[in-house]
Amino acid sequence: MSKPRVPVVEGMFREDAEGTGRLLGGKCPACGGFFFPKQWSFCANSACDGTELEDVELSDRGTLWSFTDNRYAPPAPYPAREPFEPYAVAAVELADEKMVVLGQVARGTDIGALALGAEMQLVVEPLYETDDEVRTVWKWSVSNG
């Protein structure tokens, strides 16, 4: 039997069909501003007194703001695989939310072919495995249209 897939942290994203999912954020009904992750129960806009945030899904597409490729294993608490595999990180701008969200780049992406402004799609991939579970994380993948 295959291991269940479980998000690496609770409340930041949801996996739907295997490999697809959505980021989970907060939206202030008063000013319309978005927050990711939803750290607090209230709005942090200095010009807004909103005291509640709605739970919302964020856009699963955006444009590439920047990217980098990490060639060395980071320190704990990063669950680095053995042997260490380099991984790229992308910053993606969500048009509707007007915010930039970081994520690792999907495995197998040709980093050399990335360019600012590229259309990116949210995916869900394994980050690491325990004896019982596959711990998943959201990543950014080049959109295929």
Binding site: C28, G33, T68, D69
Partner: protein
């Protein structure tokens, strides 16, 4: 408010010395006092920058240094603002003097740094963005530096050769600085052979983590005039410790996402631009008045970003400014005459204070082979994790 004057500057050399940060801080404090011609017994207030990786003494650094120098009953403060801690400590000490609660104060920052990447504090803390970015994304500090550098390349056509030129410049500046950890001239070929850490940045593009300490003795103008030849006085014309304005739409460490620009007007200036702007406003000067600047070159590419943030040139023109020689010693506005973080490595709570120490040395004309000719005005700029701005302007 009356002027606040720097009477003494002192440092413990940067390196990996394997001793307690308290020892380095005490050495720097005594050096600053000797430079000021004062004794510990003259000091009425101590402000210190905290260190997060040396246990409880690091969280109460004001008391730690007061105890190490010998308890004397004076009030202290301990500030943490990540890389901006030193500027916040300077601000605390300056406020005491401006308010008339003290005539003379000492500011101390010291660190004993771990090897390799900075990680978050231990323990599982999903509520802490600094823990989250490491655990969920593997987003180290160099990851962010890589993102900024790549964006510079894509927006402005910057190249790895441009970044290397920053390293070559700073490595030459630091050759004659006895407090620098790395005193070695780099060539472009050596840099090109350095391993890539966070593409497009190589190991030598990214600053190391160091042990080190810096201290300043500051005083009211009246006290200063009584205790030191005014020819050596350097005036603190501004201290900026601003935070961002919502919505901050530029991705800052350690955030996983920026603020959303929905439902809020964009601020007049980006956070980084606003740090220097606040300092210029207080000092009543502009970028054209600067003789030199110490900018926080966590990476070579970031130094170029700062040229634009402090108004030395328009966005996208930093590479041209660099290659014109303007920011090299002997040029119009030398940047990082100390050698910068490239030659020091980062000793977090000491670094913003060390930047000011360098400018004091320059403005006094005591910088020897790295002297900026006729320096009269200098600016430091720096940014601490979690939204801390840091900029100090000093003048003759």
């Amino acid at each position: 408010m009356g002027d606040v004057v720097v009477l003494g500057a002192g440092m413990h050399p940067w390196g990996k010395w394997g001793r307690s940060f308290v020892e380095y801080g005490a050495v720097a404090a005594r050096a600053a006092l000797a430079d000021a011609g004062l004794e510990w017994g003259d000091v009425q207030y101590l402000a210190a920058g905290n260190t997060m990786r040396n246990g409880y003494p690091g969280y109460v650094s004001g008391a730690t240094f007061a105890q190490a120098l010998g308890w004397r009953g004076i009030p202290v403060s301990s500030s943490y603002a990540a890389c901006a801690s030193g500027a916040v400590a300077i601000d605390a000490a300056r406020a005491r003097i401006q308010s008339g609660q003290a005539d003379v104060a000492i500011v101390v920052g010291a660190d004993t740094a771990p090897q390799g990447f900075f990680g978050p504090l231990p323990g599982d803390r999903p509520q802490d963005p600094d823990w989250l970015r490491f655990h969920v994304l593997g987003a180290t500090n160099p990851t962010y530096f890589g993102l900024y550098a790549r964006r510079r390349m894509e927006l402005y056509g910057a190249t790895a050769k441009d970044f290397a030129a920053v390293k070559v410049k700073n490595s030459r500046h630091g050759l004659h600085n006895a407090n620098a950890r790395y005193r070695k001239e780099f060539t472009e070929d050596e840099i090109a052979e350095s391993p890539v850490v966070a593409d497009p940045l190589r190991l030598v593009d990214i600053c190391a983590t160091s042990d080190g300490a810096a201290a300043l003795v500051i005083a009211s103008a009246e006290f200063a005039a009584r205790h030191q030849d005014t020819a050596r006085h350097v005036r603190i014309a501004a201290v900026s410790t601003v935070t961002p304005t919502y919505p901050n739409t530029y991705l800052d460490m350690p955030d996983i996402a920026t603020d959303s620009a929905v439902g809020a007007a964009l601020p007049e200036r980006s956070f980084r631009d606003s740090i220097a702007h606040a300092a210029y406003e207080e000092a009543g000067i502009g970028p054209d008045d600067l003789s030199c600047a110490e900018v926080y070159d966590l990476s070579t590419a970031l130094e170029l970003d700062w040229y634009e943030n402090i108004g030395l040139c328009a966005p996208g023109e930093a590479e041209s400014l660099l290659h014109s020689g303007a920011t090299t010693l002997g040029g119009r506005i030398p940047v990082n005459p100390s050698g910068g973080l490239a030659c020091f490595g980062e000793a977090i709570p000491a670094q913003a204070i060390a930047q000011v120490c360098e400018l004091v040395t320059q403005l006094r004309g005591e910088a020897g082979e790295r002297q900026v000719e006729g320096a009269t005005t200098g600016l430091t700029i720096n940014q601490g994790l979690f939204g801390h701005g840091s900029s100090v302007i000093v003048t003759r």
